[in-house]
């Protein structure tokens, strides 16, 4: 049988190449990379220690010395905003990861097994979801206390439901696929089918959910800390820097105290959303065909409808 032999490339390389060709992804990655670098090198970039107080230079607007001004205790805002980013991003990423982990495991099991297990987990998820989130968070915070790690745990425990529903939905549809039937016919065990066969096929929506959740949790942390319930002010985060804005005088006269943290949140979240969009475009293994010449088949089949 004459068949053309074609060069083989690993999926990882192709994925990265496609990702870098996607404008959304590139913009998003640039934004968040810059901000992450800024967060890590906060001290070097700003030339100041975020905790160094210099009350004499308190409440100064943006100037060449202090690009983002100083707060009431004379601390350099640029340095605080950048290092606040470090905490906020850390919280966002880790909380998202944990929430996704919980949601994925529960969703995979409930989605594949169905029946009673599914009913039970669904009811639990509905309970958590319908409970007013703020109250839930307050309860957990009062039980666990404040602090970065507790905030992360609280977010993970209250934020897994969307990923759960997503993964469950994917599993419901995928478990009817022929390759899953084939696996059953070959006698594969349930865990093997769930985690080694179906799960890799749901990675695309899970990764997208992961990136979107980062944004959600950063905003959630901001809200929480703004209310004074999240991370205490001793460790700056974008959220608790915003507590300054609780004072209407600050909003009017010392705008640099809250505008820069707020903008940082907005820009970072925007960047994350861009990356999420780009990932969504690129992650389907059938999207950018690995063989240039069979591109036409994929595109045509998609346009004209599958034969028969």
């Amino acid at each position: 049988m004459k068949e053309k032999s074609l060069k083989q490339q690993s999926t990882a390389r192709i994925f990265i190449r496609n990702l870098l060709r996607n404008p959304s992804a590139v913009i998003g990655l640039t934004i968040i990379s810059l901000m992450i670098l800024g967060a890590i090198f906060a001290v070097q970039i700003s030339g100041a220690d975020p905790d160094y107080m210099d009350p004499i230079s308190g409440r100064l607007g943006p100037s060449l010395d202090h690009l983002m001004g100083t707060d009431q205790l004379g601390r350099d805002m640029l340095s605080r905003v950048l290092s606040g980013g470090k905490q906020s991003i850390y919280i966002g990423v880790l909380a998202s990861f944990l929430a996704n982990l919980i949601g994925t495991v529960l969703g995979a099991t409930a989605g594949y097994l169905g029946g009673k297990i599914d009913s039970v987990v669904m009811r639990v998820s509905e309970l958590v979801m319908t409970f007013p989130q703020l109250i839930l968070v307050l309860i957990f915070v009062s039980l666990l206390g404040q602090g970065i790690n507790n905030v992360i745990i609280v977010f993970a425990l209250t934020g897994w439901m969307t990923t759960f529903r997503l993964v469950r939905g994917e599993f419901f549809s995928l478990r009817e696929e022929s390759f899953v039937e084939a696996d059953r016919a070959f006698g594969f065990s349930k865990p093997r089918i769930i985690f080694r066969h179906i799960l890799p096929n749901t990675m695309s929506p899970i990764v997208v959910a992961f990136t979107i959740n980062i944004a959600i949790f950063i905003i959630a942390e901001a809200g929480l800390s703004f209310l004074g319930l999240g991370v205490p002010v001793t460790t700056p985060t974008w959220g608790n820097l915003l507590t300054a804005a609780q004072n209407p005088v600050v909003i009017d006269e010392y705008w640099w105290l809250w505008v820069f943290p707020a903008m940082s949140i907005a820009v970072f979240v925007l960047g994350v959303n861009f990356v999420g969009d780009g990932l969504r475009d690129v992650l389907d293994p059938r999207h950018k065909s690995l063989i240039a010449k069979s591109k036409w088949k994929v595109a045509l089949v998609g346009r004209l409808g599958r034969k028969k």
Partner: protein, 335 residues
């Protein structure tokens, strides 16, 4: 095929009834009788084609035979070498033994492989799960299987979507062959393929059977292909096997009125053979609302009173005797 030999796989009055739940209290309103008492015997080294139209239960039968679904009644017995043994109660290692011997290939070539797994890895995994511990032996088996289906070994590194439909079906066949089965159930494996590719796959199956002596159960809606591929053909209607006859004797020897009608509806290149077309009226009745007696009684042109009350059983044909069974009251055959 002599009836005195033990069959490889025996199907005895298999039933598959799906309950239909209704009302607020979800009470059982009725049953969808996908399979309603199917008898079949498959012998070593033979291909039996199972044909029928939508709703006849042939796909359900195929899945049942591969133990993907449990029957609600009847017996399934397989000969592992020491006589027929019931397979529905097998668990664990015994069930794995069965699964090694009985493999299945599915209709849709586009989804029968995990899109995220390289095809070589997929085949390797199957062998590992079936206890072939030695890596060298796994490779050897996979290469041997690929050679039989004409797939070059270097393509094993690829992902499923890099192959055409025909190639994927060949890979699916190779995946089954690697476990060295005794029976392969092929569920409409060529229906989604182009005509000339169908011919390639069909010829491949014939070649494999000649070289390995495997048995095949070939489920299809295409009567002409069924006749070409099979030694015997089993015709199904509404969950029953209504006729089993040697493929060679089709279409002339068909006796059951449904088989005759089905055959006459199949378009043919031969103009003279189309003179007696039996136009079947109406549609297939719903499998929930099955007629009493013979399932075909509502549309049969030769229906008699007894047909409406008593379900006919598969008996040896009185006309052709030999290896021909019909389930019809018109057949006053011996047992």
């Amino acid at each position: 095929m002599s009836n005195t030999r033990t069959p490889l796989y025996k199907v005895g009055q298999i039933k598959k009834h799906f309950p239909v739940l209704g009302g607020v209290l979800r009470r059982t309103k009725g049953y969808v009788k996908a399979l309603d008492g199917v008898d079949l015997e498959v012998f070593r080294g033979e291909t039996i084609s199972v044909i029928g139209e939508s709703g006849c239960g042939k796909t359900t039968l195929g899945r049942m035979l591969a133990l993907l679904d449990k029957p609600t009644g009847g017996e399934l017995s397989f000969d592992f070498g020491q006589g027929l043994q019931d397979v529905t109660s097998l668990r664990g290692a015994d069930q794995m033994r069965f699964r090694k011997k009985v493999q299945m290939i599915f209709q849709d070539p586009y989804t029968s492989f995990n899109p995220r797994q390289r095809v070589g890895a997929a085949m390797d995994e199957v062998l590992r799960v079936h206890g072939v511990k030695d890596e060298a032996e796994r490779s050897a088996r996979i290469l041997e299987a690929c050679e039989m289906v004409n797939i070059r070994p270097e393509y094993l590194q690829r992902y499923p979507h890099e192959f055409s439909g025909g190639q994927r079906q060949r890979l699916a066949i190779a995946r089954c062959l690697a476990t060295k089965p005794e029976l392969i159930i092929a569920d409409e494996i060529v229906s989604a393929l182009d005509v000339s590719i169908q011919a390639q796959i069909v010829n491949l199956l014939l070649k494999i059977q000649k070289e390995t002596g495997l048995s095949f159960i070939f489920v299809t809606h295409d009567v002409a292909v069924a006749r070409y591929v099979g030694h015997r053909v089993a015709v199904m209607y509404l969950g029953n096997v209504v006729e089993i006859l040697p493929a060679d004797s089709l279409p002339e020897a068909a006796e059951h009125p449904y088989t005759i009608a089905l055959l006459s509806a199949v378009p043919s290149m031969n103009p003279t053979a189309k003179d007696q077309r039996v136009a079947l009226q109406g549609e297939v009745p719903s499998p929930i609302d099955m007629p009493k007696g013979c399932a075909f009684s509502t549309r049969c042109p030769s229906v008699m009173d007894i047909c409406r009350t008593e379900r006919p059983v598969l008996k040896i044909s009185n006309i052709s005797k030999g290896d021909h069974q019909v389930a019809c009251h018109l057949n006053k055959g011996a047992k």
